[in-house]
């Protein structure tokens, strides 16, 4: 039979056919094997029995045999040695023993030689398959799908599983690109033990030794299962397959229970896939706009992307881009966010329980993470819109080790402006921005990776006047991740962040000036995670930030300029912190997350400042002394503990309650007299007179999932206290002020609210509906201030919008066509209105009410967008899609603000609305 011949031929090639050994089929052997490796074991068997033994060395590396026996036959010995492993053996009639991994080799040709079948050997399926498996000396590339059926041995293989717990760790990556999968759930079901992967896709799971089915799940990825034999500590990396793009929305089984199981409260995580579904004004996916649709996040108005989280100020959000602090997250007055959507992997917003590893801002942390880049092949994407274009290219430098990603965006509004007729008056206006992202990632080995992030954004505009404004963010960060062992890993991050702005006016030669501000920070931090046991995971570490700001310079430009150079003293400070956090799972139902952070702030010289007597207004008349500090002097020290505690009790598998209490400190303040983030806002360090801000928040939440976790509902309530928030006295000068302490007033705040959300995560129709009731009140109670706003009583903050309703929906009509809608309603923001008129200086003027006692009309907006994908051949070179939509479909004139001005001697009221008609947009996107 030809098949037989072929087989015989292959055997011949592969294995030197041995000569006949001794007969004695029923030979009995005795011996003692201690931790014997496969070679020793085979040698022993061979010499004791004379059987010729064939095996693939590489597949038996992990075998260790511990046996003691007397007068047993060879079958018994092999059975014992391979017990609980996937190793199988077969003995043929010529006294050859074939050891295999997985299926047993068929050594009898049942049709042809029935009489030779030994009792022990059970023929298994077809012969070809078995042989082929046996023959593979070099392991073929294991397809990831097939991996689900494989059995993995973890650790040093022993005949019996030992007692007790063993830790398995590894990385979860995307098969196609090699990027880490962050937040994937890795778990076994019996007993239920699970973890999520961290920011580098790393997981560490302590399980009882033995055989398990390890489930790995994540949104947008096919569920993966790994059957493992867990002997001792070991590594298992898992590659997950992305769902084909068009199917992304169909399977969202991962994270299903995350909202129930996680101990953290008020954490919102969005992937780029979700972000891209939500319509935005110019059709460009915009992270910050999407954040504004989340419960508890508000902004003052439409043209501001500064956002307020649970009543906090716009400067109280720590915005991190791969651990680099971004001071101004917007482009072009906030019409665009500063993040290139193609480079971003996902974002996480912490509104309530902020992990102890974060600090320095009191309202929220927005953690934006970039993708690592495709480690398998060069890929890219680009988008072309009416005002902006973006591109992104990524790929391996060294395959599977080093990846790069390069992204950029720019506007081309300038040429459009130039095309405008002279009469329009805008011909000379210019508005431009650009940003560049560079990411490099290098994997030294399984334990060490290094990631580099470079980010640069630039904005420059003038509004048909000669005053040119420009600002830029510049960030560099380097992160080294090291895994000591399965239970202990570390990441070290060092970085430099810079934000600066410039204003220049050169038209009037006598007054021509350049004005500038910048803030620089060098930071270093070390974060450690120790997976102590299934019940305890410890996070600890420390960080240090050295600030150096140049609060302002105002210098002449040109030779004729009479501008007196005025340069404010630079400021420097050191902010350090150490923290320890414990994720403690008391019972599967009850878990606790405790964190303690101790932060310490040193305001450093050189500096000269005034001293004022205690309890008197800080002004020029009350200066008692002039203080001069030298370089390195500690002018003022602030610090204290910050508590981060949250607890979760799972009432049932799909319902839980959570409680959290947090305290935070913030040593840096943004000075802004305007209602939104403006390019001329200054960041001020806490100093001798200006105290750090602090905040406390208590929150309680109830979470319940329905329909096998495809519908998530949540209700959270919170109460928040803000201390030493900065407000300004009437007529304060914030720019180029040498003694800012004279113009600022300490303010107390309180914020409270309830947030409700229903989220449908699966199906053709998905999205969320949220309703928030919240209030934010401020009060000036600085006793040393002469003039208190609203007489020292509580008044609503600018972003106090009690009712807020948002609906975000996406309907997937087919694989190629989807429709998204976004509906927003909120109470109008508070404003100060005139309550009287009078004549002064030749004209009628207004007398204003107490601050923020009235409201502008309510806000309502509906946006629609369609996404049309090209064809879905997976292997074509370019995938393209169109995004077409309309922003503000109803064309409602949502006032941004109202104002009253004296025109020709009479008071006139106006309301200003931005995007007051439906704004159509179209974008073309492509990926390759």
């Amino acid at each position: 039979m030809s098949l037989f011949k072929t087989l015989a031929g292959i055997w011949f090639i592969l294995l030197a056919i041995p000569g006949y050994s001794q007969e004695k089929p029923g030979i009995l052997i005795s011996g003692k094997l201690e931790n014997a490796k496969v070679g020793e074991f085979i040698d022993f068997l061979n010499s004791a029995t004379g059987y010729q033994i064939y095996y693939d060395q590489t597949k038996f590396d992990s075998l260790r045999v511990n046996l003691e026996f007397t007068n047993k036959n060879i079958d018994w010995v092999l059975d014992q040695a391979f017990k609980n492993t996937q190793y199988r053996y077969a003995i043929d009639f010529q006294k050859n023993i074939f050891l295999t991994s997985g299926d047993k080799m068929v050594v009898t040709l049942d049709n042809l030689l029935p009489e030779l079948v030994s009792d022990e050997v059970v023929p298994v399926r077809k012969i070809e398959r078995e042989v082929r498996e046996f023959l593979t000396e070099t392991e073929p590339q294991i397809s990831v799908i097939a991996s689900n059926n494989r059995v993995y041995d973890i650790g040093v293989k022993t005949a019996n599983f030992r007692k007790g717990n063993v830790t398995i760790a590894g990385f979860v990556r995307v098969a196609q690109t090699g990027e880490p999968v962050i937040g994937a759930n890795v778990y076994i079901t019996n007993p239920r033990i699970g973890v999520s992967t961290d920011q580098s896709g790393f997981y560490s799971l302590t399980l009882p030794a033995g055989r398990h089915s390890l489930n790995i799940r994540y949104i947008g990825m096919r569920d993966a299962v790994r059957v493992i034999n867990l002997y001792s500590e070991g590594k298992l990396d898992v590659e997950m397959i992305e769902q084909v793009r068009s199917l992304k929305e169909v399977d969202i089984s991962a994270e299903k229970v995350a909202n129930i199981r996680s101990t953290q409260m008020g954490v919102e995580k969005l992937t780029m896939a979700t972000i891209k579904q939500i319509p935005t004004v110019f059709g460009e996916p915009d992270i910050l706009r999407v954040i504004l649709t989340l419960p508890g996040v508000k902004s003052v108005g439409e043209a501001s992307t500064g956002f307020n989280v649970r009543g906090g100020g716009t400067d109280q959000n720590l915005i991190l881009y791969n651990d680099a602090t971004i001071y101004n997250p917007t482009h072009l007055f906030g019409f665009f966010s500063a993040f290139n959507s193609d480079a971003v992997k996902d974002i996480e917003l912490y509104k309530s329980s902020i992990p102890a590893r974060f600090g320095g801002r009191i309202s929220s942390v927005l953690d934006v993470r970039s993708r690592e880049g495709n480690s398998k092949k060069i890929a890219g994407s680009a988008g072309i819109g009416l005002l902006t274009s973006r591109f992104n290219i990524e790929g391996p430098i060294i395959k599977d080790r080093t990846t790069f990603m390069l992204g950029g965006r720019t506007t081309y509004s300038d040429w459009l402006l130039g095309k405008l007729p002279e009469k329009s008056g805008y011909k000379n206006s210019k508005a431009a921005f650009s940003d560049i992202d560079v990411h490099l990632n290098h994997k030294f080995d399984d334990r060490n990776t290094l990631a580099f992030t470079g980010y640069l954004s630039n904005d420059r505009f003038n509004l048909n006047s000669d005053t040119v404004y420009s600002y830029s963010n510049r960030n560099l960060s380097l992160k080294w991740k090291h895994i000591f062992h399965n239970k202990f890993n570390m990441s070290l991050t060092a970085g430099i962040d810079n934000y600066e702005y410039q204003v220049e006016s050169h038209e009037n030669p006598i007054n021509a000036y350049d004005m500038g501000f910048d803030i620089n920070q060098s930071n270093f931090k070390a974060d450690f995670t120790y997976y102590l046991s299934n019940k305890h995971t410890l996070d600890f570490g420390g960080s240090s930030i050295l600030y150096k700001t140049h609060p302002g310079k105002f210098v002449p430009w040109g030779t004729e300029s009479l501008v007196r150079p005025d340069i404010l003293q630079s400021e420097q400070a050191l902010e350090s912190a150490v923290y320890l956090g414990d994720r403690f799972e008391i019972t599967p139902a009850l878990s606790l997350n405790m964190g303690l952070r101790f932060s310490l702030y040193h305001y450093l010289g050189p500096q000269s400042t005034y001293a004022y007597p205690e309890g008197l207004p800080k002004n020029d008349f009350n200066v008692t002394d002039s203080l001069v500090f030298n370089r390195g002097d500690v002018i003022k020290k602030y610090g204290g503990p910050e508590y981060r505690i949250s607890a979760r009790y799972a009432i049932t598998g799909d319902m839980s309650v959570k409680l959290a209490f947090n305290t935070l400190r913030q040593y840096i303040h943004m000075l802004s007299n305007t209602t939104a983030i403006a390019p001329t806002d200054i960041w001020k360090l806490s100093d001798l007179h200006i105290k750090p801000q602090s905040g406390r928040q208590a929150s309680f939440g109830l979470y319940k999932n329905f329909k096998s976790n495809t519908i998530e509902t949540s209700a959270e309530v919170y109460y928040k206290w803000l201390d030493n928030y900065l407000d300004y006295r009437s007529g304060a000068t914030l720019i180029m002020n040498h003694h800012l302490e004279q113009d600022v007033i300490n303010t107390q705040g309180k914020a409270y609210g309830a947030e409700f959300q229903i989220k449908k995560t699966a199906g053709k129709l998905n999205g969320w509906i949220s309703y928030t009731y919240s209030r934010t009140m401020l009060k000036m109670d600085d006793p040393t201030s002469i003039q208190l706003i609203n007489g020292g009583k509580y008044y609503p903050a600018n972003h106090d919008k009690p009712h807020d309703f948002t609906m975000v929906g996406n309907f997937k009509a087919s694989h190629r066509f989807s429709v998204s809608a976004n509906v927003t309603y909120s109470t109008g923001r508070p404003i100060t209105l005139p309550v009287g008129r009078f004549y002064y200086g030749g004209a009628e003027r207004m007398l204003y009410s107490d601050r923020n006692q009235y409201r502008i009309p309510d806000y309502f907006r509906t946006d629609l967008s369609m996404n049309i994908e090209g064809n879905h051949k997976v292997h074509q070179w370019i995938h393209s899609s169109w995004t077409i939509g309309v922003y503000n479909v109803t064309g409602r004139h949502n006032p941004y603000s109202t104002y009253f001005t004296t025109e020709n001697g009479w008071v006139k009221g106006y309301k200003l609305s931005i995007f007051a008609t439906p704004v159509p947009f179209i974008n073309y996107n492509l990926r390759f």
């Binding site: 007196r564 209602t675 007398l847 001697g905 106006y910």
Partner: protein
Amino acid sequence: MKKICSFFTLLSVMLLFVKCKEAYEPEVVFTATNLLVVEGHLNGSGVTSVKLSRTQANDSRAKLVERNATVSIFDENKQAYPLTESSAGQYVTSASFPSTGKYSLHIRTSDGKEYASEEVSVLNTPDIEEVSWNRASTGVQIYVDTHDASNNTRYYRWEYEETWEIVPRRFSYYELVPKVPAPLGSPFPYDIIQRRPQSQFPRACWQSEYSKNVIMASSTKLTDDVIHLAPIAHVPNNSWKIDTRYSILVKQFALSAAGFEYWQNMKKNTEGLGSIFDPQPSEIRGNISCISDPAEQVVGFFDASTIKQVRIFITKAEVGDWQYDILCDEKFAVNHPDSLAVIFPANIPLESRGDPFGGITAYTGASPDCVDCRFRGTPVRPDFW
């Protein structure tokens, strides 16, 4: 701030949508109470005047003046300089105040409440160096230059008074005289006669306007106390103000730092808000308080300085390419009562058309405001003209 608004319009242009701002009348009850408003400036070089009025809680545009108050200025030796009410709510004195003194304003209103200002010194306002103008694409922009060699003044405020000449577009040679007695049933009961000297229209009139915005500048950021090309006034393109000749009188006031801050807040509060970069309206507190009820808010700031002023003239020829026009078509009517009644007396007769035999066949006419400049201004020639 207009610029920002323009920027949105600009985006609007680009995206073919237009609306940016619209009129807004909030449903707010004007609750502000009858607060005393004091506009007081001690003139170190002329007549001092203090205006008293009240804030209005209602929506009416009438000015609520404060009459019958007792107003006086005290120097630091408590010597009183009484002011007398020259017109409703306006209290004046021509007393001269030595510039070395410190002065405060005292008011007792008719309801018995007493108000007093802080003491202020008389600031010495430097001379205006030059008032200049240039032809900008949007119109004529008028600037002021000044400097203080002693570097003391630093804060400046200006007011101005614009005056311009109006020359009638058409000259009338005829006038209508009603027939006496009026004939019954006639469609045109007038005689048209050669215009008599006593009914001649003025050849020119003048109109004046006082500045309404707060105009101020400071040189605190400069090495020298120099104000260069501070924009004062703007005459928009083709405005009738420069139809023939235009004049502007710029008055310069030195301010104290506190006064500057007060005026600046007033400006910020009332001359542009609502844009992203504008600050929120803030409470403005002056240097006048109510002695009888310290909780009562008083609007106003009392300051003292000398006043310097400069007048310049601008003619249409100097500006060039100035195309103000009003519609002054000549209308034509055949000399027949029925025809004449169509355009007269609604128009004023200008000229006649005759036949070769001395008969009048028709009259021309024009609307009164093309002929009589008194519809727009006063025929009294200002003494500086």
